[in-house]
Amino acid sequence: MSTNTEATTAAVELADSPLVSSIANINNEKHDYSRESSREASEVVIRPRTGWIAIDWREMWTYRELFYYLVMRDVSVRYKQTVLGPAWAVIQPLLTMIIFTVIFGRGLEIPSEGFPYPIFVFAGLLPWTLFSQGLSASALSLVNQQQLLTKVYFPRLFVPVASACVFLIDMAVSAGIYAVLFLFFHATQGTSPSWWTLPMLAYLVPMTMVATLGMGLALAALTVFYRDFKHLVPFLVQILMYVSPVFYPARLVKDWWPILALNPMFGIIDGYRYAILGLPCNPGALAISSATAVGMFLFSLFYFRKTERQFADFA
């Protein structure tokens, strides 16, 4: 009751009283740090933009902490209100591996090139999970966060890129599990993993991100304008899985590889198998796939930049 009366008086006072004392104590901490705070002081010129727009690296650097928080938000939200919590990060890849092994390894007897099928398929699942999850997440990222687009300014590229980067963390967890299985396998065989695994992965992992964003950025922008893509993306991911050597060795496609390698993940997954398992690799396929990935990425990036100024109008 007392709160109500207080509220009433406050509303009346609003108009005539110089508001003061109650807030004075908060304002005592007078700020002398305003110089270094917030974004760098700069002049902003706002005018209609047309055509292709360059990427503002400096601005993105200024906002880098926001990028970190966007990623961390998605990470920390993921397993909230689950009983198993972060354990899901371990269970999910293991379950996928088991399902694939049962269906494709045991059931369809797909060749696993002399390795146990779980070891073989996991090497493909690592990049595939990063790609497929990252692609779906980034494609939907803008429409799912419309309120951000219409209420505040920040580099728009952060939204889809952060959504995809979240899955790098998942990949690291999966890679840890895989490393255990993999080293155990080598130990039982009395062999050791090859030295080129790490340098190759240093090329392949960034290339997987390039492939993911190569499709993800453009799809994110398109989904803002045409919600149809929201329904198309799951099919796209499904189709891509069948034309990528996730659960089968790349050599099975025989002479079709130059065409299939236009799918960036074809050559990349083949590359992972070479890097991790030392299986013969098709350098031509990796070259074609890398080239398409980079090409699509550049196109996607510029398409995104070109259209981002309209996001808030359509969102």
Binding site: A11, S38, A41, V44, I46, K80, Q147, L148, Y153, R309
Partner: protein
Amino acid sequence: MSEAIITADRLGKRYILGEHLGSSPPMLREVVAHRLREMRGLLTGVRREKPRGEEFWALKDVSFEVRPGEVVGLVGRNGAGKSTLLKVLSRIVDPTTGMARLRGRVASLLEVGTGFHQELTGRENIYMNGTILGMRKAEIDRKFDAIVAFSEIEEFLDTPVKRYSSGMYVRLAFAVAAHLEPEILIVDEVLAVGDATFQKKCLGKMQDVASGDGRTILFVSHNMGAMAQLCDRGILLEHGRITADGPVRNAIEKYLQANADHRSARATFPIDPSKASQVISMEIRPVGGDKPTVQYSCDESFVVRVEYEIRSQVGGTRFWFTVLNLEGIRVFFSEFRDADSEISTRLKPGRHTFEITFPPRLLAEGTYVIDVAVDREFVGLIDHHANCCEFTLRDMIPQRTDRPGFFSTLLPWKLVDTTAAL
């Protein structure tokens, strides 16, 4: 005089009706069909005007300059372009024409709690929201305790905000925003939420920000009282154009007068079943009369008659109205518990009509407008109609006209001593 910190030069923003403002974005099918028609046009050499929707200029030729330290209020009806202008200046949407230049760090506050995530705790959301609004992590670290103290939610800092009451949520969001230290602060109607005490605190903080460090503020509100109090300068927008720019009281007065045609002694409001309670209608009539009337003498009583609908019984709901003069100053506030403090516990869902009688000789001569609203403790406004009804008071006795002040109350001048014989 120092150089302008904000310069807007013939800003314009065009929307194509049906394309942007339609309820849903265009279907892919329509776009494909459109492109095909275009291609066919190219092939056949028949150039047709693009089948576009109707044009709508949300902003047109908007030019103004703001000096450092000025606090500028944007006034105008809904849809006059205030929010669009703030969005353009915040770089959220691109202008269609013209140019604007902002010299200094900008922070925009177009919504309460932008970037808040329901699943994150209060602590996490302070960092999330703070960085989105443009603060550095180090800066938030430093101000963290002040933010928490301002929000008054210490105990719930590690609770996900989805468990917060709406009041707590708003407090937390405001606390973060209040600690921004940009050179230019752009604020949309965000003060409409939250309970009055907290609103007052925020206004105070904003005012402190403005006068303390000479910060520049661009401010939109339908609360003319807050506007008059906070701003030195007012810009009136009508149909996307600036129609007045000068001292804030002039802008407010012009705004309220310009809308006089839209007001009368009676207003009815559209039914909105999504609201828990709402105002159905309001009218001002003479005592014993049944026709809405605008003009009264200062010596007569008149009745404000308000009809409310309560849809779901909710505790803490409050029906009230404020009377404002043409300068936008709230001269009077009244609520339904003034006569009967227990009334809220007795009202059941349904329609309720109240008659509030104004005694003679309360308010001074002049024209007044009424804001009517329903709000709820800790939630904020549920239904609010600004400037919906109008009435004018005239003093019929010549010696009493044109008096300064807010009241027309006659005080008893009692002669208690005199040297002359009576």
